[in-house]
């Protein structure tokens, strides 16, 4: 037992005062005249001279109450060593071992393992311990075990992972384990390098009452660290070949200037190397010469020369030539030359994605034309039966069709792919022109126009449109102010059909003259072409949908994923519904048995915020997790401070309560004795 304020124990000496007064108090000097002391003289001297204590029990209660209160003020507590030695202090320990990649810096990881083993070796026979590894995710290696051998074995062969530090989930898990324990002493030991980036505040992190958190700081005297920064890719075309320009750089987290070589690898071959000189706490960037990329999914990396932390010296990414969206615009035979003028111009100015436009007459649409196209736009054109059949097959195969009905647009009823049956034109040249009254801003097509000043469809005036009898279960994405449909959608298989009831030129409306026309057309093409932004890289911890990454989407061929570590994961049957990237490197998605097909490659990189090794005060985390100030001193082997231990145990509160309770009981007993 140790006392935080031992000086208060001097107050215990005061307990003797009432006893001494009680026993040796001289009688008061008031004189009582009495007729004769004849009888009083006969009484033995000692019983006259001293008071006798008659109510020993009351005296004991009073002294005990005062002693308890004095002890409470002295703030007693048991040191960790005392607790460990105490036979009644069986402990539930949760060893939280930071396994983020920053722990691979210098000699941190052996220190961390030694600290964890030390904590396990300190267990007594009645203690139990859990071993939890954590990065941004947590992994319980062994839960509430008393066998030191098993606990030590759980630490063997463990190396830092590719994840970044996050303390919140680990502390929540520790709190969950500790709250389930019935042992009297509960403690979480957090072994980490305490990176500031890993602590997002104490939201929801709270260890159960009575549990303590002991931080064990793992630090390395050498602090310099260079980290690469994510690349920027720029696509250019040169002589019908696509070229990619890679720009990257490095960050110096150290206090002194550093120089490093940075190299670019594409397809496993070194392409270029540059020399960077980086100021302390600064960064530098470099742009490599353009590289021609002819194949899809080519692996590429930029690397810094090695330093104490290797994982943040390399950045992987995937380069592919950009694939344009091929759009086939079909007009009616004999259409005026400018009937698709605005449409063509709008399509031509798209850069991301690039749009390749081909123009055909509606009656001459061949199967080959459709096979090459991703999107077909029918602009004010009557469609013959055979063409309609081919378009139906095109849509069912995943293609997109945009039908601008206009005045002459028609569709054979047998090829039912339109969202509605076109009716007669509605003339709005008399009276006020029609305007778009309601847009479905939740639809991907109009989502980008949701914000203010991002697209003013209401300014466009419509003088004519076709009435439409909508089919069942179709979406109307835009309506005119009189409630008539302006834009409708129908899905067919994996393909999509949009039907515009007016025109895309200036014949029936002035929409083509409005600023919103070009982005509207681009959104239509992206939507119908099922365009998704290619991601050259991802970060460890991201989740990818195997269904989207498989090279043979829609087929019944079984697919597998190869991790950077060589593990083979089946994506069919019992395989994972989603795949979490847990390693740094390239993941491959292949169709099993069709190795000749080019695989889809996903580059996975470590979270570069982890490369900043600046530390957070462990006391901040302790205070957040324990819900109060008075954190414990950090240090690899330093025990928590006396204040923190005392604060965690709060013995004084119980002593004070017991003292007051005893005083209350004493009052009751004393009153009854008096009565």
């Amino acid at each position: 037992m140790t006392f935080l304020a031992p000086l208060f124990l001097v107050g215990l000496a005061g307990l003797a005062i009432p006893v001494i007064l009680h026993l040796i108090q001289k009688e008061r000097k008031n004189v009582v005249q009495f007729p004769s002391l004849m009888f009083l003289r006969r009484i033995p001297y000692q019983s006259v001279q001293r008071r006798r204590i008659r109510h020993w029990f009351l005296l004991f209660m009073r002294l005990a109450a005062l002693a308890l209160i004095v002890l409470a003020f002295a703030r007693p507590f048991l040191r960790r060593t005392e607790i460990a030695a105490s036979a009644s202090g069986a402990r539930e320990i949760v060893v939280l071992l930071d396994r983020s990649y920053s722990m691979g810096y210098g000699g941190k990881w052996p220190q961390a393992l030694a600290a964890a083993q030390s904590a396990i070796n300190g267990l007594t026979a009645r203690d139990r311990a859990s071993v939890v590894f954590f990065t941004s995710n947590t992994e319980v290696a062994l839960r509430s075990a008393a066998d030191k051998g098993r606990l030590q074995a759980a630490l063997s062969g463990i190396e830092p992972a590719a994840g970044a530090t996050r303390y919140g989930p680990a502390l929540k898990l520790a709190g969950s384990i500790l709250s389930e324990s019935a042992l009297p002493q509960r403690e979480a030991i957090l072994i980490s390098d305490f990176q500031r980036s890993g602590w997002q505040g104490s939201d929801g992190v709270r260890l159960p009452d009575g549990a303590t958190l002991t931080p064990v700081m793992i630090s390395d005297s050498a602090k310099p660290n260079l980290a690469i920064v994510p690349v920027t890719l720029q696509h250019t075309e040169f002589q019908d070949q696509q070229r990619i320009t890679v720009t990257t750089g490095a960050v110096n987290h150290g206090e002194s200037q550093a120089s490093a070589d940075i190299s670019l690898e594409i397809g496993g071959r070194g392409i270029q190397t540059r020399r960077l000189t980086i100021a302390p706490k600064g960064s530098a960037s470099t742009t490599f010469d353009p590289v021609t990329v002819a194949e899809q999914n080519v692996r590429a990396s930029v690397r810094l020369s090695d330093d104490a932390l290797l994982r943040d010296n390399v950045f992987h990414f995937v380069v592919s030539p950009e694939k344009p969206i091929r759009v086939l615009v079909a007009e009616r035979p004999g259409a005026q030359r400018n009937s698709s003028l605005y449409l063509m111009r709008a399509l031509a100015v798209s850069e991301t994605p690039k749009i390749e436009v081909t123009s055909r007459q509606a009656d001459s649409l061949a199967a080959e034309d459709l096979a090459r196209a991703n999107v077909v736009m029918l602009n004010d054109a009557p469609i013959a039966q055979n063409t309609a059949d081919r378009l139906k097959a095109f849509v069912e195969g995943g293609g997109g069709v945009f039908v601008a009905l206009g005045e002459r647009g028609s569709w054979p009823a047998s090829a039912d792919i339109l969202p509605g049956v076109p009716g007669p034109p509605v003339d709005r040249t008399r009276g006020p022109a029609a305007r778009l009254g309601a847009l479905e801003y939740g639809h991907p097509l109009f989502e980008v126009f949701r914000g203010p000043r991002t697209g003013d469809f209401a300014s466009a005036r419509f003088y004519g449109y076709r009435s439409v009898t909508p089919a069942a279960n179709i979406k109307t994405l835009a309506r005119f102010d009189d409630g008539q449909a302006a834009l409708m959608e129908r899905r067919l298989g994996t393909g999509r059909v949009l039907m515009w009831t007016s025109t895309l030129d200036t014949g029936w409306s002035d929409l083509a003259l409005k600023p919103v026309f070009v982005p509207f057309v681009h959104r239509v093409i992206r939507y119908l072409g099922a365009y998704t932004e290619p991601k050259p890289w991802r970060t460890v911890g991201d989740v990818v949908d195997p269904g989207l990454q498989a090279p043979t989407r829609g087929s019944d061929v079984s697919r597998v994923a190869l991790t950077p570590g060589g593990q083979r994961i089946s994506l069919d049957g019992d395989g994972p519904e989603v795949l979490e990237l847990s390693e740094q490197g390239f993941y491959e998605f292949r169709a099993q048995g069709r190795e000749s097909d080019a695989p889809i490659v996903v580059a996975s990189n470590v979270n570069l915020t982890e490369s900043d090794l600046s530390q957070v005060d462990p006391q901040e985390i302790v205070a957040g997790a324990m819900g109060r100030a008075g954190a414990q001193a950090a240090g690899e082997t330093a025990p928590p401070s006396d204040e923190a231990q005392e604060s965690a145990q709060r013995v004084w509160w119980y002593l004070l309560f017991a003292g007051l309770l005893l005083l209350g009981a004493e009052s009751i007993v004393a009153s009854r004795m008096t009565v």
Binding site: Q25, K26, E27, R28, K29, N30, V31, V32, Q33, F34, P35, S36, L37, M38, F39, L40, R41, R42, I43, S47, V48, Q49, R50, R51, R52
Partner: protein, 302 residues
């Protein structure tokens, strides 16, 4: 003592009586009330006053023949005397310093004075001769017994004050020499002496044929020792002080007092001396009634 045990008795605290100031009046009031209660005079001894003559019959004591009448008449006549109602009655009142103690507004001496006054008045009404001896360690006042000394007795009672330490033996032995005739002696004292010494002090009085009654006066504080605060207790007579914690020795003290009273009662009873212990807290009329009733009852037995 339970005052309500006597129907019709006056429940007047002696403290109130003492405040009246006129001792004679106080004594009369008390005795009158008492007489009216019992309708009978108590017996106080024989008289020697002449009543009549009668003729001699054989067997009469020839010493009682009236020889002067025989000379004139030549016949033998016997002198008859009046009833034995005229006797000497003296109060021996202890006026030592210890009698000046009173914890409830009335001292033992005041109570003793009222007791002496009441009894003297009572006896005076019976035409007995009354006297008084006030003493401490010496005889302070001496009033010879006479039928005319009632006022003197009351006057002396009013005058005496406690001034000296007390002692029974010296003054009582001295007084015994002055009582030539047998009579009734009332000793009023707090008897702070050993029982044997007390008996030794009254011995000469009894040996001369006096009828002795002892009133042992004690204050309630002397009986129950109802002190609480530790104090220095000072002997009223010697001035000696002893530090006392009352709580610690009250029980032992009361046991000693009770043993003293029992010893006195036993010694006096064995020597045919009436002994009455009175607390100054008990009403005087009640105390008198109790004593006189008992004495009358015992007189019949004798």
């Amino acid at each position: 003592m339970d005052q309500t045990a006597i129907p019709g008795a006056r429940f007047v605290d002696p403290i109130v009586l003492a405040r009246i100031g006129n001792l004679e009046l106080v004594a009369r009031a008390v005795v009158d009330g008492f007489i009216n209660g019992i309708h009978r005079s108590p017996y106080f001894g024989a008289s020697v006053d002449f009543a009549e003559h009668r003729g001699y019959v054989p067997g009469d004591d020839i010493r009682r023949v009236d020889w002067k009448l025989y000379a004139r008449t030549d016949r033998y006549y016997i002198k008859e005397y009046e009833a034995d109602s005229n006797s000497n009655f003296s109060v021996l009142l202890d006026v030592s310093k210890s009698m000046g103690f009173g914890s409830r507004g009335i001292t033992k001496l005041d109570y003793g004075k009222m007791l002496a006054g009441c009894l003297t008045y009572l006896v005076h009404r019976q035409r007995d001769r009354v006297g008084l001896v006030a003493f401490d360690n010496q005889v302070v006042e001496f009033v010879p017994a006479s039928a005319k000394h009632m006022d003197v007795v009351l006057h002396v009672l009013d005058r005496v004050t406690p001034s000296n330490p007390g002692n029974l033996r010296t003054p009582l032995h001295k007084v015994a020499e002055h009582f030539g005739r047998r009579g009734l002696l009332i000793l009023i004292s707090d008897l702070y002496e050993e029982p044997d010494e007390v008996l030794d002090a009254v011995g000469p009085l009894r040996f001369r044929g006096n009828d002795i009654a002892v009133f042992h006066l004690l204050d309630p504080a002397e009986l129950d020792f109802s002190f609480r605060e530790p104090s220095a207790f000072e002997d009223l007579e010697s001035g000696e002080q002893i530090p006392i914690v009352p709580d610690a020795l009250a029980d032992q003290y009361k046991e000693l007092v009770q043993a003293h009273v029992n010893a006195l009662r036993e010694r006096f009873s064995a020597n045919r001396i009436d002994y009455t212990m009175l607390s100054t807290a008990s009403p005087l009329d009640h105390a008198l009634f109790s004593y006189l009733s008992t004495r009358e009852r015992l007189s019949r037995v004798r």
